[in-house]
Amino acid sequence: MQYLLLIYENEQNNAKMSKADGDKVMQEYFAFTKDIQDKKNYVAGEALQPIATATTVRVRDGKTVTTDGPFAETREQLGGYYLVEAKDLDEARSIAARIPAARTGSIEVRPVVKFT
């Protein structure tokens, strides 16, 4: 089964990290990504640019409305994702728990729809 792991963190808290701590976290991400690639769980994954670069597009009554910012203001913001292959939710949970952001933020685990 495929699961999308959505990484939510409070950006402001992250911004307060020192460069040394920030580098350390990057190393943890590299190590984590390599590990799930080796274990054949990794399908895709990206970090996203900060929420300040977000734009929201809605089409209502045929009109396209573009606004600055995320779709909603939230305490934690979407910062990245991993798409993984896992045999069940428990395996997906255990992968999610090893994402560095899980310690300070929240990882939403969403099963992907299989269209046949």
Binding site: M1, K87, D88, L89, D90, A92, R93, V109
Partner: protein, 421 residues
């Protein structure tokens, strides 16, 4: 026993285990349940003629599995027709299954271990990805076999809401891929805690005076005890034994704790001849075993406290000092205000109300229990015993403003009236 009675007995005894195995074998909760129902119906028709099989559970599982296979095959065939594809094989090509085939290993199909399927079912019902109210509903429905209406009544919820809750829970299991298994050992600590908590919640729902109708309440406590027994049989650990002991020792007092008109009878005033001796004896043995098996957790300690109460020949023979000591140990593991409150009440029995009052005042100051009627009720009782009538009356009024159930409200009102009378 007539054949009808015997068939009913078999269904009652084997339903839980058969369903648990079928869910594993069939891989779909709803199909498993429906197929088992069809197997029961087949048994009602066939067994009076052919006799009850030697291994009725195996018969039920095989028959149900075949019906599930037929159903799934029929569905697949229909799906293919709808998609415009011709089915490669006509339905009915495969050889018919013979439910009486003696070497059928339906129970062990796809299984290379001896894990009781009921454990798989229990752990899955209590999976952390399900909301707690969904965990309870699913456990009561699938493991305990309560109807949706009975569960709804027990939790004072509309039946339609409860039905939806169950549908969503099963959809979550299916959609999110919650595995049907006993979790690996590394996760047992956390997962077993959840299972024990659910069993305990089922029990307290049944035991509390606030829940639905009386018949369902008794069924809930009985089911909780049955689940605890199943756990003790399949996964005997210190806390599992502790929980079973606690439930038995508590349930033993059921008939003594209220008058015929439903009024509260305090522990110290209870007619101990109405206590269920068999449940107490069993509970005491279990507490003993648990205490000797390893460091006690919260359930064992609570059971030990209940055991001290059960040992008292009359209520003023209670060893309150030991109870305080047990609460000290409980508070060390579970430092909650409710535990602190219960401990303070025991301290009052041990060292007198004046010693305990400061402890209660501390709890009042912390404001954590400001919605909990038992805190002012306890204060009121201590103040009453100290002869501080005016303050006691004020505290009883505070408690009355917060109390949620009728029997306790009447009790507090009587105490207040006695002070003012």
């Amino acid at each position: 026993m007539s054949i009808a009675q015997e068939i009913n007995r078999v269904f009652r005894d084997e339903r839980q285990h058969a369903l648990a195995t079928l869910i594993r074998v069939v891989g779909d909760w709803d199909v498993a349940e429906e197929a088992l129902q069809e197997a029961f119906e087949a048994a009602v028709v066939q067994w009076p003629e052919a006799g009850v099989p030697d291994q009725p559970r195996a018969w039920l599982i095989r028959t149900a599995r075949n019906k599930a296979v037929d159903r799934v095959r029929r569905q697949a065939w229909l799906e293919e027709k709808r998609a415009g594809l011709l089915a490669e094989a006509e339905p009915g090509d495969e050889p018919a299954y013979d439910p009486e085939r003696p070497d059928d290993t339906a129970e062990n199909e796809g299984c290379d271990d001896d894990i009781d399927d009921r454990l798989r079912l229990l752990f899955t019902c209590c999976h952390p990805a399900l909301a707690p109210e969904a965990q309870i509903a699913l456990t009561l429905r699938t493991l305990c076999g309560l109807s949706t209406e009975e569960i709804a009544r027990a939790f004072l919820t509309p039946a339609a809401t409860m039905a939806q809750r169950l549908v969503r829970a099963k959809a979550k299991i299916r959609g999110a891929g919650i595995p049907y298994r006993v979790p690996p050992r590394e996760e047992w600590n956390e997962r077993l805690q959840a299972v024990l908590a659910i069993v305990y919640l089922v029990f307290t729902e049944g035991y509390a005076a606030t829940s639905g109708d009386a018949l369902v309440r008794r069924e809930l406590t009985a089911e909780a005890i049955r689940l605890a027994r199943l756990l003790a049989q399949l996964l005997p650990g210190v806390e599992v034994l502790g929980l079973l002991a606690l439930l038995l020792l508590t349930e033993a007092r059921r008939d003594a704790r209220a008058t015929a008109s439903g009024d509260v009878i305090l522990l110290e005033d209870q007619d101990q001849t109405k206590w269920d001796r068999a449940q107490i004896d069993e509970g005491l043995v279990l507490v003993d075993r648990a205490l000797r098996s390893g460091p006690p957790g919260p359930y064992v300690l609570q059971a030990a406290i209940a055991a001290v109460h059960a040992h008292a020949p009359r209520s003023d023979g209670t060893d309150w000092r030991q109870i305080v000591a047990l609460y000290d140990r409980l508070y060390a593991i579970v430092p909650t205000p409710v535990v602190a409150l219960n401990r303070a009440v025991a301290v009052a029995m041990c060292d007198g109300p004046a010693a305990a009052l400061p402890l209660l005042d501390e709890l009042v100051a912390s404001r954590e229990l400001r919605e909990y009627h038992l805190l002012p009720a306890a204060r009121a009782d201590l103040l009453r015993r100290l002869g501080q009538t005016r303050e006691a009356a004020a505290a009883y009024r505070e408690a009355l403003a917060l109390v949620g159930n009728e029997p306790e409200r009447r009790f507090l009102a009587r105490r207040l009236a006695a002070l003012e009378g």
